[in-house]
């Protein structure tokens, strides 16, 4: 469905992304893992159409991507809610240009707010939301227009372990409910193994894809199972092969 072929993005002399190739099937959950600075956000911005200054080819359902589109929802690395709009309006703004009746928009927003578990906070301003709530609102905003693919840039990166696990389950539920294709960027190997059907491993300088790993475990996954652990091991190994995350040398001081 989504095909990235040989995408290269330079910033001056710096090659932020070199020859990245990956594909996402209809309804597939793909995760990108890699060290900080390896070009994950850069790649996501290319797919979102926010950055068109690249070489290579990115197509969605055979069509080359030109500019942004409501077909491709995006959740940024931080919630990026507009502080002057209530939670409701922050989500409604995504439907400003949708060809829907006012009543249909209202229903869609109500349903989306319920899906991310924020019912009752419609009138709250972002300043009054917790970090996790704000991130869920951002997810609702990206989903309310029913995109065919959702791009998530470390949406849970800044949350505590408990909230993060809860939201991972929520993401899974949303994914299965909406049947939307997902590309999730994360630092967290466990998160990647818990959520995805395919993991793309990246490495830095220059940013490039080093491995494509398929995970055929059934959902929901048991974090403590042996297979889960084996996949985690495999991803860690793939990351460790990359110079950027070499295990620290052990020093003995006596």
């Amino acid at each position: 469905m989504l095909e990235v072929r040989g995408a290269t993005r330079r910033f001056g002399n710096l090659v932020a992304l070199q020859d990245a190739t990956l594909s996402v099937d209809e309804g597939e959950f793909v995760t990108i893992v890699g060290a900080s600075g390896c070009g994950k956000t850069t790649l996501l911005r290319l797919i979102a159409g926010l950055d068109q200054d690249y070489t290579g080819e990115i197509t969605l359902r055979g069509q080359r991507i030109v500019g942004t589109s409501l077909e491709r929802g995006i959740v940024f690395q931080e919630p990026r809610l507009l502080p002057w709009l209530t939670l409701w309006d922050n989500i409604a703004i995504a439907l400003d240009n949708a060809p829907l009746s006012t009543a249909a928009k209202k229903d869609a927003i109500t349903a989306q707010i319920a899906l991310v578990g924020l019912t009752g906070f419609e009138k709250a301003y972002p300043a009054a939301l917790s970090g996790g709530m704000a991130q869920r609102a951002a997810i609702a905003r990206a989903l309310v227009g029913h995109p065919s693919i959702l791009l998530l840039d470390e949406p849970l990166g800044a949350l505590d372990a408990i909230t993060r696990m809860r939201l991972q389950e929520e993401l899974l539920r949303i994914w299965r409910h909406e049947r939307v294709s997902m590309i999730l960027v994360t630092h967290d190997v466990e998160e990647a193994v818990f959520l995805s059907q395919k993991i793309v491993v990246m490495d830095s300088s220059p940013g490039h894809v080093t491995a494509n790993i398929a995970l055929d475990l059934p959902f929901p996954r048991d974090r403590s199972s042996a297979e889960f652990g084996a996949f985690k091991r495999q991803i860690f190994d793939a990351l460790h092969d990359n110079a950027a995350v070499k295990p620290p040398e052990i020093e003995y001081l006596i």
Binding site: A48, L50, G67, T68, S69, L70, I74, F76, E78, R80, L82, P83, W84, L85, I93, A94, D96, N97, Y125, A127, A128, R141
Partner: protein
């Protein structure tokens, strides 16, 4: 009795001038500020002219404009509107340049039209700056009304207070001072209330820190 009638009339004359000047200056400032903020070409077109006008203080414009438009209200409205226009224009333009680029990117991702971008993102983002500028320039403009009426006028609070000085009517002079202060205060409160209403969403540093 006659004096009371006059006083009310003079208050009205001054309030009329500041009211009109404020509306024109603010609208023009925000309007042109947006036009320049949204287009580099418009910015280039205006910034030279405005920077030239800006460096001649408003008080220095009064004699020339009075020669053109006479001693009545229009001349004062023009000069005072200009004194409001300049800071509002410059701050609007600068505030637009300072809008968080992340929000512009968000608007792109949401496919907002330029109009929607202005209404939903840029205008609310710069409103705090505009409100502060309006309050600040309203204070300056009020002072300017008094001066303008004092140097070239036949009515208004400024006329009264300078006349009182010339006639050594200290009592009238003091009444005028108090009234000018009260009107200035009321003007600022009015704008402050508008600001509070418009910026309800804001939760910055409230001032208490313990």
């Amino acid at each position: 009795m006659l004096f009371k009638q006059d006083l009310l009339w003079d208050i009205w004359a001054s309030v009329f001038i500041i009211g009109q000047a404020f509306v024109y200056g603010a609208l023009l400032g925000v309007g042109l500020g947006f036009a320049a903020g949204l287009s580099h070409r418009v910015e280039l077109l205006f910034s030279g002219t405005i920077n030239t006008i800006r460096h001649i203080p408003s008080v220095a414009w009064i004699p020339l404009v009075v020669v053109w438009l006479g001693l009545g209200a229009p001349a004062k409205i023009v000069v005072i509107a200009k004194s409001i226009f300049i800071p509002v224009f410059l701050n609007t333009l600068q505030a637009i340049r300072g809008v968080d680029h992340n929000f512009i990117e968000l608007a792109q991702a949401l496919k907002l039209s330029k109009r929607q971008l202005i209404r939903r993102v840029i205008l609310p983002a710069i409103l705090p700056v505009i409100m502060v500028t309006l309050r600040y320039s309203a204070g300056l403009a009020w002072a300017l009304v008094v001066i303008a009426e004092g140097i070239s006028g036949l009515e208004g609070m400024g006329f009264l207070i300078f006349r009182a000085q010339n006639l050594l009517m200290t009592d009238q002079l003091l009444v005028c001072m108090v009234l000018i202060g009260v009107i200035g205060y009321a003007l600022d409160r009015l704008l402050y209330m508008a600001q509070r209403r418009l910026l309800r969403w804001q939760r910055g540093f409230g001032g208490s820190y313990a």
